[in-house]
Chain length 339, copies 6
């Protein structure tokens, strides 16, 4: 089955190790984005994954393309042109010092793309699965319109559609997010969200949860999941459940609601190497699991294990193999040396 | 208000990451020193800070100057000349392996400076705050005399004076430290110390405290603070309270006595990136807070939060902003990504 | 006393920091091997240590030799020739992600060495201590034969012999290991093993122990130690007792049986920098302690402390000094800065 | 005397060494810009230099500020705000492979600055020297208007004005450049240009010169210099004379016309380390020389020597001392070790 | 048109910069091989290129695959399995110090591949161009047999066949090379060689040429080309003409004989960044040019320009674009900055 | 034969690549010194070499020891103690920008060593060759006295003595150098000097030579060599003949006078990687050649070739093999890849 993801890929620049922006005289350069990260996860598990975007026709744009090809993601549907590749700067936190992200993504090729850049009928001709996140329509009005068109075509081709809400307050207001996403949500089968997204985008709240305190109420999430499914007709609603103890240590678990059952994964105490992309790695693994017919419990366990592992990997991409995820999902979290 | 600090700036050389000295084929090169670190903290918070020292008239000396200018510290009162810049080598510990510091600071330009190098009347002409530590008079007899002269002039200009006891057994004996510091202490308004300094320098002990065990008695510290204030007439006495669990993990808190109240900060469990300069970052933040009229409790909370954050930053300088310290002091220690 | 160790030295290639193999565009290059690591430990403590092996007569082989000379290991008994130096790739794990080792050691100069390469009578002419591990005879049949010859000569020269069982399933089957090692064990005075080796090599099991759960039964180990001593006549049997909480955090302790007493070391909670070579560092320290007449309890405490420290050091070699190990063995685990 | 320069400072990102963009997984990060580079040169020679621009109020903007403070450039007249810092990517060429620059500077804080951001009356209150380049007005129409206003004010404060034509075809057409620059040129005393600028901006050609052939006609340049001076009333016209033999080797000289004499510097055969910023280093040194009353011949010799040295230095900034330039200008080009 | 290349891909390890093997504590890790390098060149020019080999089913093998995917080479015909990936160590020379290569390629997955690993009928089903070099059959007898089978199938599918003689004395004797290559040569249309290959492999000598003197006789090469074409029926014979002045500076040109004309390219004076892969980059460009119908003179000019540029690029792969090669082939060798 | 060298070993710190001191945030750390460099050369050629010095008893001192052991130099005669290891900072020049060395060597352990630190009778008990340079007696008066004592003992043990004049104006005046060295020269058999030393130390001038112009008169050097031999009774006088074209390119040759013949080596055009240690590599190779009975012409050719190669190697140590030097001395300077 083909998995098509659509969104932005950016140049990610981060100082080495725990250096602050003000200390950096080198930036580690990788290329990433919420939907591109999902595509890489799918390709890593052996799935036929494609990423659709627009990048400028210069070497920095090409380097973004190459970073996807390297991990087996199909790039033949990408458009070329526009002025610039979006950039974001990441500073890794530690202990009580929070990680910091500075976005410089306005005016990117994909934000200024137009409908003619993408031939959805061609891209979707073999059907399969389509994935996007709330970031894509937030980038520009034209991109919101392109998203809507893509969703309609995806449904016309009988595809399953997943969406990670991924609310970004720097990109749009809650009001605008709600208006746009409520329309797009109609075409979505699988809704993915973190602990804040449902409230930010749709105004649906998990009661009794204070995320800055690192406490999460399962009951609250169940309530939110049910409201979302009831409101928009989602077949699945998935939540990542992060407890932030510090920038170095988090607890991590996830929940999946299939309309009937609320399945909760084991909780992992993670010592963080790089947590950016954690949510995307969850989405990628969940899509793989659901696309391959896993049960609700197996799917959420697989997705939680995959995204747990992401926290131990530098960069946004979750460079883990199917076997590594399965081993952890099966309960081996001892970290013993594999020789 | 002008904040003038006086002391030594050295070239700090440390192997990368957790490499040992014997493995290093590169040293990370920064420039730092107890009083220079305080000046950088003050400049980071937006204060008008100056650092006074003497550096050799070659490129290594100039690089030390530039490292301060970079962070906004005024360097116009520095003397040039002498033979060498002091150097210290730092090896980062981990888990049960302790960090190690090798000093190579003898015969430095500042240790061999003479009175004519500094025109205190000019330097202090706008008044403000003067800060030094117990390291400066320990470097040489002539420097001890210069310190005394500076203190007299500071008082003549109506300045507030702070001193971090900072006892270094490699530089002088406890006997000599007591003799010299007892004289200098007469001019000090704010006395800063860590868990060992009061005993080392003045023979004043905190009862029931075994620092290698990582246990600290608050009552003991109160007793010491009161003795210090009573003996030397300090307006404020501040202690950092470190519990060393291992080279990777410490607990960190602080206490401030204002002659009436003993205010204790929250205690932070810190996962250490680099703890060198932790005490200096405490001093810098405390001076800022007191210089800006914070209450005793607010001041110690601000200083404890600032120095907690220092432990997460590579190098001696505490490169945090006013806002970051305020956020932590206000209670947000979750380390969640700031986007 | 001379300490002679015999085995393979390989080129170790590991990505920097927590990078995965798939991300690496540079490999940190060191040279190491189970018996070479022991020799370096011994030299670090001031003992007269030699490493015997065969390396190819090119610069990569010479670099392996130099890495040992650098730390004071005698290399004059090494043979030169053969086609290649063995290589192994190490990927450092973190949190739930396990470390990974890929071996590329077949056809190495040492695996293809023949009896004429080593003049044991000359090498052993001053007596002393001989150490090898179960890896050496596993490399090839000819090397197993050379081992046997070396052991006979060692005994003829009145040497003490130690062996770390070090079972490697990639090199030989349990059946073959048992057959070969049972013969070699007859010449061994000190047997060293980790939590799995005794079962893998000799089929002797520690009851009630599930190493993937990180739980260890002291009683079980005592039983195994006694069986080993009874079966093969070992004077000492030593076990490392690792509890794998995750790839980042382990508990670490050790046990030594001297035919009468079962002495158990303190248990250390280690935050891991690099755990490869941990077992070898234990062996090196134990040999040093026994070779210098430490009591059973002192010996196991010294060896446990030394190998605890190894986990905080990059690379296989345990670059700690005698004094550092003694300090930790004496109970100072606070990790406070040594100035 | 105060030297005020006005323009853009950008984040410069270049792969390490001779890596191509497509190979880079790290970028060396420095901050630079045509006019900022001039300010750094002036500060290096001991002059009182200021740089005026607008940078965003985040850490990347602050890092740009710090990079100037580090080298002694005054930054107190900078405005804060706007969305982004301009970026450019530099790939170092070698031999027949040309260096490559990709600009990502649209929508920068300075390009979108408005008149209220700069209080020229305050900035110029002590008079001195004002410098800008043709890049500044090319960035946006509003910036062209701000430039014009600055020039008027500079003249009102009796300042000397210099301008490096610095034509950038990616920023504006030759037609627009000519229209805008012809107006601004009226206020300029010292005009600096490279081998192509006069033709690109004003349509004034140096006869018999084919720059891709690396051949330069001195007679042609004299003719152009005279035309420029006659047309716009420049007191000085300076040209850099580059002969591009390859990306690794260039010949470098310069010419200065003072209305009477055409003075030509010695020609240097330069083996290139980094040639970006070469023209700016020429401008900075020329301004210093003229501002300090050097004769026409001495001024051009100083400026040619300074910019010759720039080619041996990584990054845009010409980090050479007054003494180093004077030594080369005096004829010592042997490159012998200075101990 | 599909371009299929067949051979070995290895892990290339080289110290950074000009470090010697004995100094290296890090190796830059890339993946390359004579035929893989050709495939990358073809993909860079926009051609549909595939590389066929066998790599082990572990992460180091996968990293080799990824390095090709990254640059757009098709990898779907690769076999997985076997024990190891071949490795070679490269030390970069400078001035009078020669570069050095140490091979560790025996027992690689591809050397031990068997006929069943490759389904040539499937691989060649769309026809096109097939390329191999003299290294492939030299790796093992079975690989020589596989080559012969591939050549027969290629001809059966109407493909054009090219071969770079690439004699490696470490892999086989001249006698064996002659025997095997004489048989394979029958299927070859385009023969590529450097200044020594024809003599080494077929005993055909270019008169009056002493390559260590850096002097090349064009007449001698014409004679050799004609002999080769006459003997084996090659349609094209191409030679690279290298004059080694030192490890830092070479002259570089090339000749192409089409049975009628001897076309010689311009000669380039190259300042070397990395010359490994220079011959392969020539082959890749020549194949592209001939495959796209270039005239003999245009083809050799394109190939000489492409391989001239390779010398300025780190690593084996010639990461240049079609446009860059065309610009140099058109005569622009000035190396001026492209903005 | 034993080769004993005596002098200082320092920590060498240099910025990476062509970075200037002011840009460096890392220093490459190696350990070197004029006489230590000679010892490493001798060990590289397979000779039994020892280095005698005094280093502090801390890890930085130990790292210096290890750097010599790594390359096979015997270190058992070193004394431990004193306060510090000397340091020097090296900045690599390029093109017209000269390399720069800043020394920070005062008060080192060796400069403050006393006679009791070295048991010359024991050190020299097997006779052989003793080498020192003019730097050693320049470090302190006590070291000059120790040198004299060593020379007397060396002669008493029948050793050959060589001395590189190595004048350092930062360490002593010409007058003092002349006084001390004239006394020590009486014990010297082989005198080594560069183009300036004879004049600086003994006031003996090479007529018609302007070293800053890069022109050298062979006749002048012959005259100086004869004067030196006649005055002090040297059996051999050797000169290195450097022509400094720029910091990147030098010509390099050498001359050896044996009392009868003036033998001059071929002249090499060297493209410089790192020229520090060039003279020491000459001395080391010359000593090896004379110690192994080479003819005067062969000896100077060997020494010139060895030191030519040094210019292509990073760091002070001349890490070349006997075979590599012999190959170049035999005339192969083509720099072709050695596979």
């Amino acid at each position: 089955m083909r998995y098509i993801t659509f969104g932005e890929i950016m140049l990610r620049l981060n100082p080495e190790g725990y250096e602050r922006f003000l200390q950096a005289d080198e930036f580690v350069a990788t290329y990433a984005g919420a939907e591109a990260n999902v595509a890489v996860s799918l390709a890593n598990y052996g799935a036929e994954a494609y990423f659709v975007t627009k990048v400028p026709a210069h070497e920095i744009g090409q380097a973004a393309v190459n970073s996807l090809r390297r991990y087996g993601v199909g790039t033949q549907f990408m458009a070329r042109g526009g002025d610039r590749l979006g950039i974001y700067f990441v500073e890794k936190g530690a202990s009580q010092r929070a990680s910091k992200v500075i976005y410089d993504r306005a005016h990117s090729a994909i934000a200024e793309a137009d409908a003619a850049d993408f031939n959805w009928d061609e891209i979707f001709k073999d059907g399969g699965w389509f994935h996007f996140t709330g970031i894509t329509p937030a980038l520009s009005d034209s991109l919101a319109a392109i998203c809507l068109e893509a969703l309609k075509q995806a449904k016309a081709h009988g595809m399953t559609v997943s969406c990670d809400l991924n609310y970004r307050s720097k990109l749009w207001s809650r009001e605008k997010a709600k208006a746009v996403m409520s329309e797009l949500a109609k075409y979505v089968d699988v809704c993915i969200a973190n602990e804040e997204d449902a409230a930010d985008v749709f105004g649906i709240h998990a009661a009794n949860t204070d995320i800055t305190e690192g406490k999460l109420s399962h009951e609250g999430y169940k309530s939110v999941a049910k409201q979302l499914a009831d409101t928009f007709g989602f077949k699945y609603v998935a939540f990542t459940l992060r407890e932030s103890l510090s920038a170095s240590d988090n607890n991590w678990a996830a929940m999946l609601y299939d309309g009937t059952n609320f399945c909760i994964s084991p909780k992992y105490a993670v010592h963080i190497v790089d947590r950016v992309g954690g949510g995307d790695s969850f989405g990628g693994a969940l899509i793989y699991a659901l696309g391959n017919g896993y049960s609700t419990q197996d799917a959420i366990n697989f997705a939680a294990a995959a995204s747990c592992l992401k926290h131990s990997i530098e960069g946004d991409f979750n460079l883990v193999s199917l076997k590594e995820v399965q081993t952890l999902a099966a309960g081996n979290a001892s970290g013993r040396v594999v020789r």
